[in-house]
């Protein structure tokens, strides 16, 4: 197990190194740079002034020097300076991280709480009215973009109650009730969509398991439905579900951009889009690397969970 984790972490490091090359290259391939944007806000361009700013920001150096400098910064824990805000990148990025992690975790929690039970019920009551209703419910969730649902929630709140959630981040110690409201609504909007996917995977996986011989044996032994479904069937049907949950969580870290924008939550994804628009290389590079780390770690965690859920899975070493 230990060797497996070390191997995986080594592969993760290589993956991150590859990612860093891709991020760095793609950013430089995008048309325009921060200096163009700065001049754009001023409404003119001066080639000599542009050169001076490029020099000031270190953007006139060869690309490989800039790349190695960035790697050195990562290794030493220095995330560089935001071009846009003219100050260290880390103090800007740090408060964004917990917002996105909390929103993603809450969304996944909702998704699991809704998706798994409805998936089980739908499978157990296959081809009944309840099954059809639950499938329509899940299909609606898949078809409805989270940002659209978010906007509908906002509009409904403002129209019926003349109220919307707070416009800035409210910390849990500052006002827990407001904090909860601020996160519950977007988490519901996002979680509903994810729950639809989890529900469908749970349903199909469970249906498959329910047709296995050992389930038939369990029924034949006269075990109760609850024991057969929850103890024997569901545990074995959960592997693909856990995989989907892991993928969804990883996707949400970077994919919450529109939800964060609609609910005005200061998270990583919303900030990342602004940073891309501003070609704020240090911020973009470090935020994308952060997302990559979360994706890799959540995949690793899912793989670890396989061993817990299925004793047949053994990690070589």
């Amino acid at each position: 197990m230990k060797t497996y984790v070390v191997q995986r972490l080594a592969i993760a490091l290589l993956t991150l190194l590859g990612m860093s090359v891709v991020i760095f290259t793609l950013l430089r391939l995008a048309p325009g740079d921060i200096v163009d944007i700065l001049f754009s806000t001023a409404g003119y361009v001066s080639p000599s002034e542009k050169q001076a700013i490029m020099r000031e920001l270190g953007m006139d150096r060869p690309y490989w020097v800039q790349y190695l400098d960035w790697l050195r910064q990562i290794v030493t824990g220095d995330l560089g300076k935001s071009y846009r805000y003219d100050q260290a990148a880390w103090p800007i990025i740090r408060p964004l991280v917990p917002v996105t992690l909390e929103l993603a975790a809450l969304s996944i929690l909702f998704a699991v709480l809704i998706g798994v039970p409805t998936g089980v019920v739908s499978a157990v009551r296959q081809d009944t009215t309840l099954d059809y209703l639950l499938r329509v419910f899940s299909l609606a969730g898949l078809s409805m973009p989270a940002f659209w649902l978010g906007m509908v929630i906002i509009l409904a709140l403002v129209t019926w109650f003349a109220w919307i959630p707070p416009l800035t981040y409210v910390g849990p110690t500052e006002n827990f009730k407001l904090h909860a409201v601020q996160f519950l609504l977007p988490a519901l909007a996002v979680g509903y969509r994810s729950s639809a996917l989890i529900m469908r995977i749970t349903r199909s996986s469970l249906l498959e398991v329910m047709r296995e011989d050992y389930i038939r044996t369990a029924w034949a032994k006269g075990q109760t439905g609850r024991v057969v479904i929850w103890r024997h069937a569901l545990k074995n049907a959960l592997l693909p579900v856990v995989t989907v949950i892991g993928i969804e969580f990883a996707f949400l870290i970077g994919g919450l951009v529109v939800t964060e924008t609609v609910f005005n939550l200061p998270g990583v994804a919303r900030f990342l889009v602004q940073a891309i628009l501003w070609r704020d290389y240090p911020v973009v590079q470090n935020l994308v690397m952060f997302i990559a780390v979360v994706v890799i770690l959540s995949n690793l965690l899912v793989d670890m969970l396989y061993g817990v859920l299925d004793p047949r899975v053994r990690y070589g070493g």
Partner: protein
């Protein structure tokens, strides 16, 4: 009681009622206290460094922290030389036939860090802006250097006197100094520092700027105007999503909208949802216009440029693209939205403003035929515009109009990051553009957008005769003569299709009724100081 007495009494009552009805309500006494929540549609682009940017997203939240020498009176909606009040300057005086402008500065003013304000700060700021050879500091981006091209020297003979020595008379310099674009920076602070913090002398101090989230300002207890500001603070919320901004306004989470944000349709929707909201239409001092590269074929041909201008039906564009939330006008804002622009009746006879659009199109087709093109043998061109909805909508309308006169224009959307570089380089044929102007004054507009060699003269139009007229109006001391000269310049620019103006955009500035004394001016850049604003909550 006798009948006469009854009649007299009744008459007296009636007179009193009538007086009560016709007398305007006494203006309310301002109250101190309260915090206003103000809308921001994007984060500050250069922090509080107004001198390094042109965007309202910086000017609007940074203005309350800073002060000018002079400012357009926040309580008057008209911006003119008559509505300028002193800020850091107590008094000022033109001398030597408008060649010297002398400012007598307030004493006892302190910067937010406690340092005293003196004439040294004035000299520092304007030497930096005009890039004097001996300037002690340099801005990394200096978009309004041209405003000070006529300043020969800035002198500070004593700590409370500053003298602007001009190369030639320029009465309008005072209007540029009164713009929100012209705050005084502290000489003891690096200009780069304003990108992250704000050391000003303004009515509010910056308490916190949480990037991408909000900017919070609190009352400056040492503000040099006694009893001001009324408010305890201001909080500017960054809300990127338009629908959320509107919902926040509707829900009362925001008290004040963002200048230039509210279209006519949006204002109507808000009023329908919350009838008590106060909506004030005013000119944004922003135009939709067409830029044609006069240095490149086919628009080096004046006939084709003129044909383009004739072809575009301005009134139809205003209806279709702005749902009537804009007005026609030439290169300066038209009355009553501005002071200098040609009125609609004066536009008749200029390209594109004929009474019958069909006649204008026929004239355009004739010009195109003379240039060798026709609807059967269309001229193929590329029209560039920024990849932003308001630009693309306008460009799409223009493409349809041009198609009717034999110009087959294909749309190319340019990202913001590349737009100004491309336009300044002249790397385009035809463009659909927006231009924002600081103060409503001809100098601020003409030298920037029409002067030979100006980097913002995207069309690269250069006409010596027009330049002489622009210089003449700038030096003209008689307001009536200056106005007449400006009418002539505007007609000439439109007749030359230098940068055909399509419309002047109107903003429907929206506030909640408890917000008092926040009066929009003729330009979005000049009314953000907030020192007179109070809350009747």
């Amino acid at each position: 009681m006798s009948r006469v007495r009854i009649v007299l009494f009744a008459t007296l009552v009636l007179v009193l009622v009538a007086i009560a009805l016709i007398t305007p309500a006494t203006s309310q006494t301002p109250k101190s206290g309260g915090v206003l929540n103000v809308m921001l549609r994007e984060d500050l682009s250069q922090g509080f460094s107004i001198h390094e940017t042109s965007t309202i997203s910086t000017v609007w939240p940074a203005m309350p922290c800073l002060s000018n020498l002079v400012l357009f009176d926040p309580l008057k909606k008209t911006e003119s030389v008559d509505t300028i009040i002193g800020e850091l300057a107590e008094k000022w005086s033109w001398q030597d036939n408008y060649r010297n402008l002398v400012f007598f500065l307030r004493k006892g003013v302190k910067w937010h860090d406690g340092q005293p304000f003196t004439s040294k700060d004035v000299k520092f700021t304007f030497d930096m802006l005009r890039e004097a050879a001996d300037a002690p500091a340099k801005l990394r981006i200096n978009p309004r250097k041209d405003w000070y091209a006529n300043v020969e020297a800035i002198e500070a003979p004593d700590p409370y006197t500053a003298v602007f020595r001009l190369k030639k008379p320029q009465p309008s310099l005072l209007l540029m100094l009164a713009s929100g674009y012209t705050p005084i920076y502290a000489a003891h602070v690096s200009p780069a520092n304003y990108r992250t913090a704000c050391v000003g002398t303004g009515p509010f101090k910056v308490k916190e700027w949480r990037k991408g989230e909000f900017v919070e300002l609190v009352k400056n207890p040492d503000y040099f105007v006694k009893g001001r500001p009324y408010l305890d603070g201001l909080k500017y919320f960054v809300i990127v999503e338009r629908g959320t901004r509107q919902a926040a306004m509707q829900a009362g989470k925001l008290d004040v909208s963002f200048p230039g944000e509210t279209t006519k349709t949006a204002a109507e929707q808000l009023k329908k949802a919350v009838p008590q909201l106060v909506v004030t239409p005013y000119s944004q001092n922003v135009t939709d216009n067409i830029i044609m590269n006069v240095k490149k074929p086919p628009f080096d041909n004046p006939k084709i440029r003129l044909a383009v201008s004739h072809a575009i039906d301005r009134r139809a564009l205003i209806q279709a693209v702005h749902q009537s939330g804009a007005v026609v006008g030439a290169s300066l804002a038209p009355k009553p939205w501005g002071l200098w622009g040609l009125a609609e009746k004066d536009l008749v006879g200029l390209p594109g403003y004929g009474a019958k659009p069909a006649d204008e199109k026929a004239l355009a087709r004739k010009l195109m035929a003379e240039a060798g093109s026709s609807p059967e043998k269309p001229l193929k061109v590329e029209i560039v515009t920024r990849a932003i909805a308001i630009y693309v909508d306008m460009a799409s309308f223009v493409i349809n109009e041009l198609k009717q006169i034999g110009i087959d224009a294909s749309l190319k959307q340019i990202e913001t990051a590349q737009w100004h570089a491309m336009a300044t380089r002249g790397d385009y044929q035809l463009g659909a553009n927006l231009t924002g102007i600081g103060p409503d004054d001809p100098d601020a507009n003409y030298y920037e957008n029409y002067a030979c060699g100006s980097p913002r003269n995207y069309s690269q139009y250069c006409n010596e005769e027009v330049m002489k007229m622009i210089d003449a109006q700038s030096q003209e001391l008689d307001p009536k003569k200056r106005l007449a000269l400006n009418y002539a310049i505007q007609k000439k620019l439109e007749a030359d299709a230098a940068r055909p103006i399509l419309d002047w955009k109107i903003d429907y500035f929206t506030v909640w009724p408890h917000v008092k004394n926040l009066i929009p001016h003729q330009s979005i850049y000049n009314f953000g100081r907030m020192q007179e604003v109070w809350s009747d909550k």
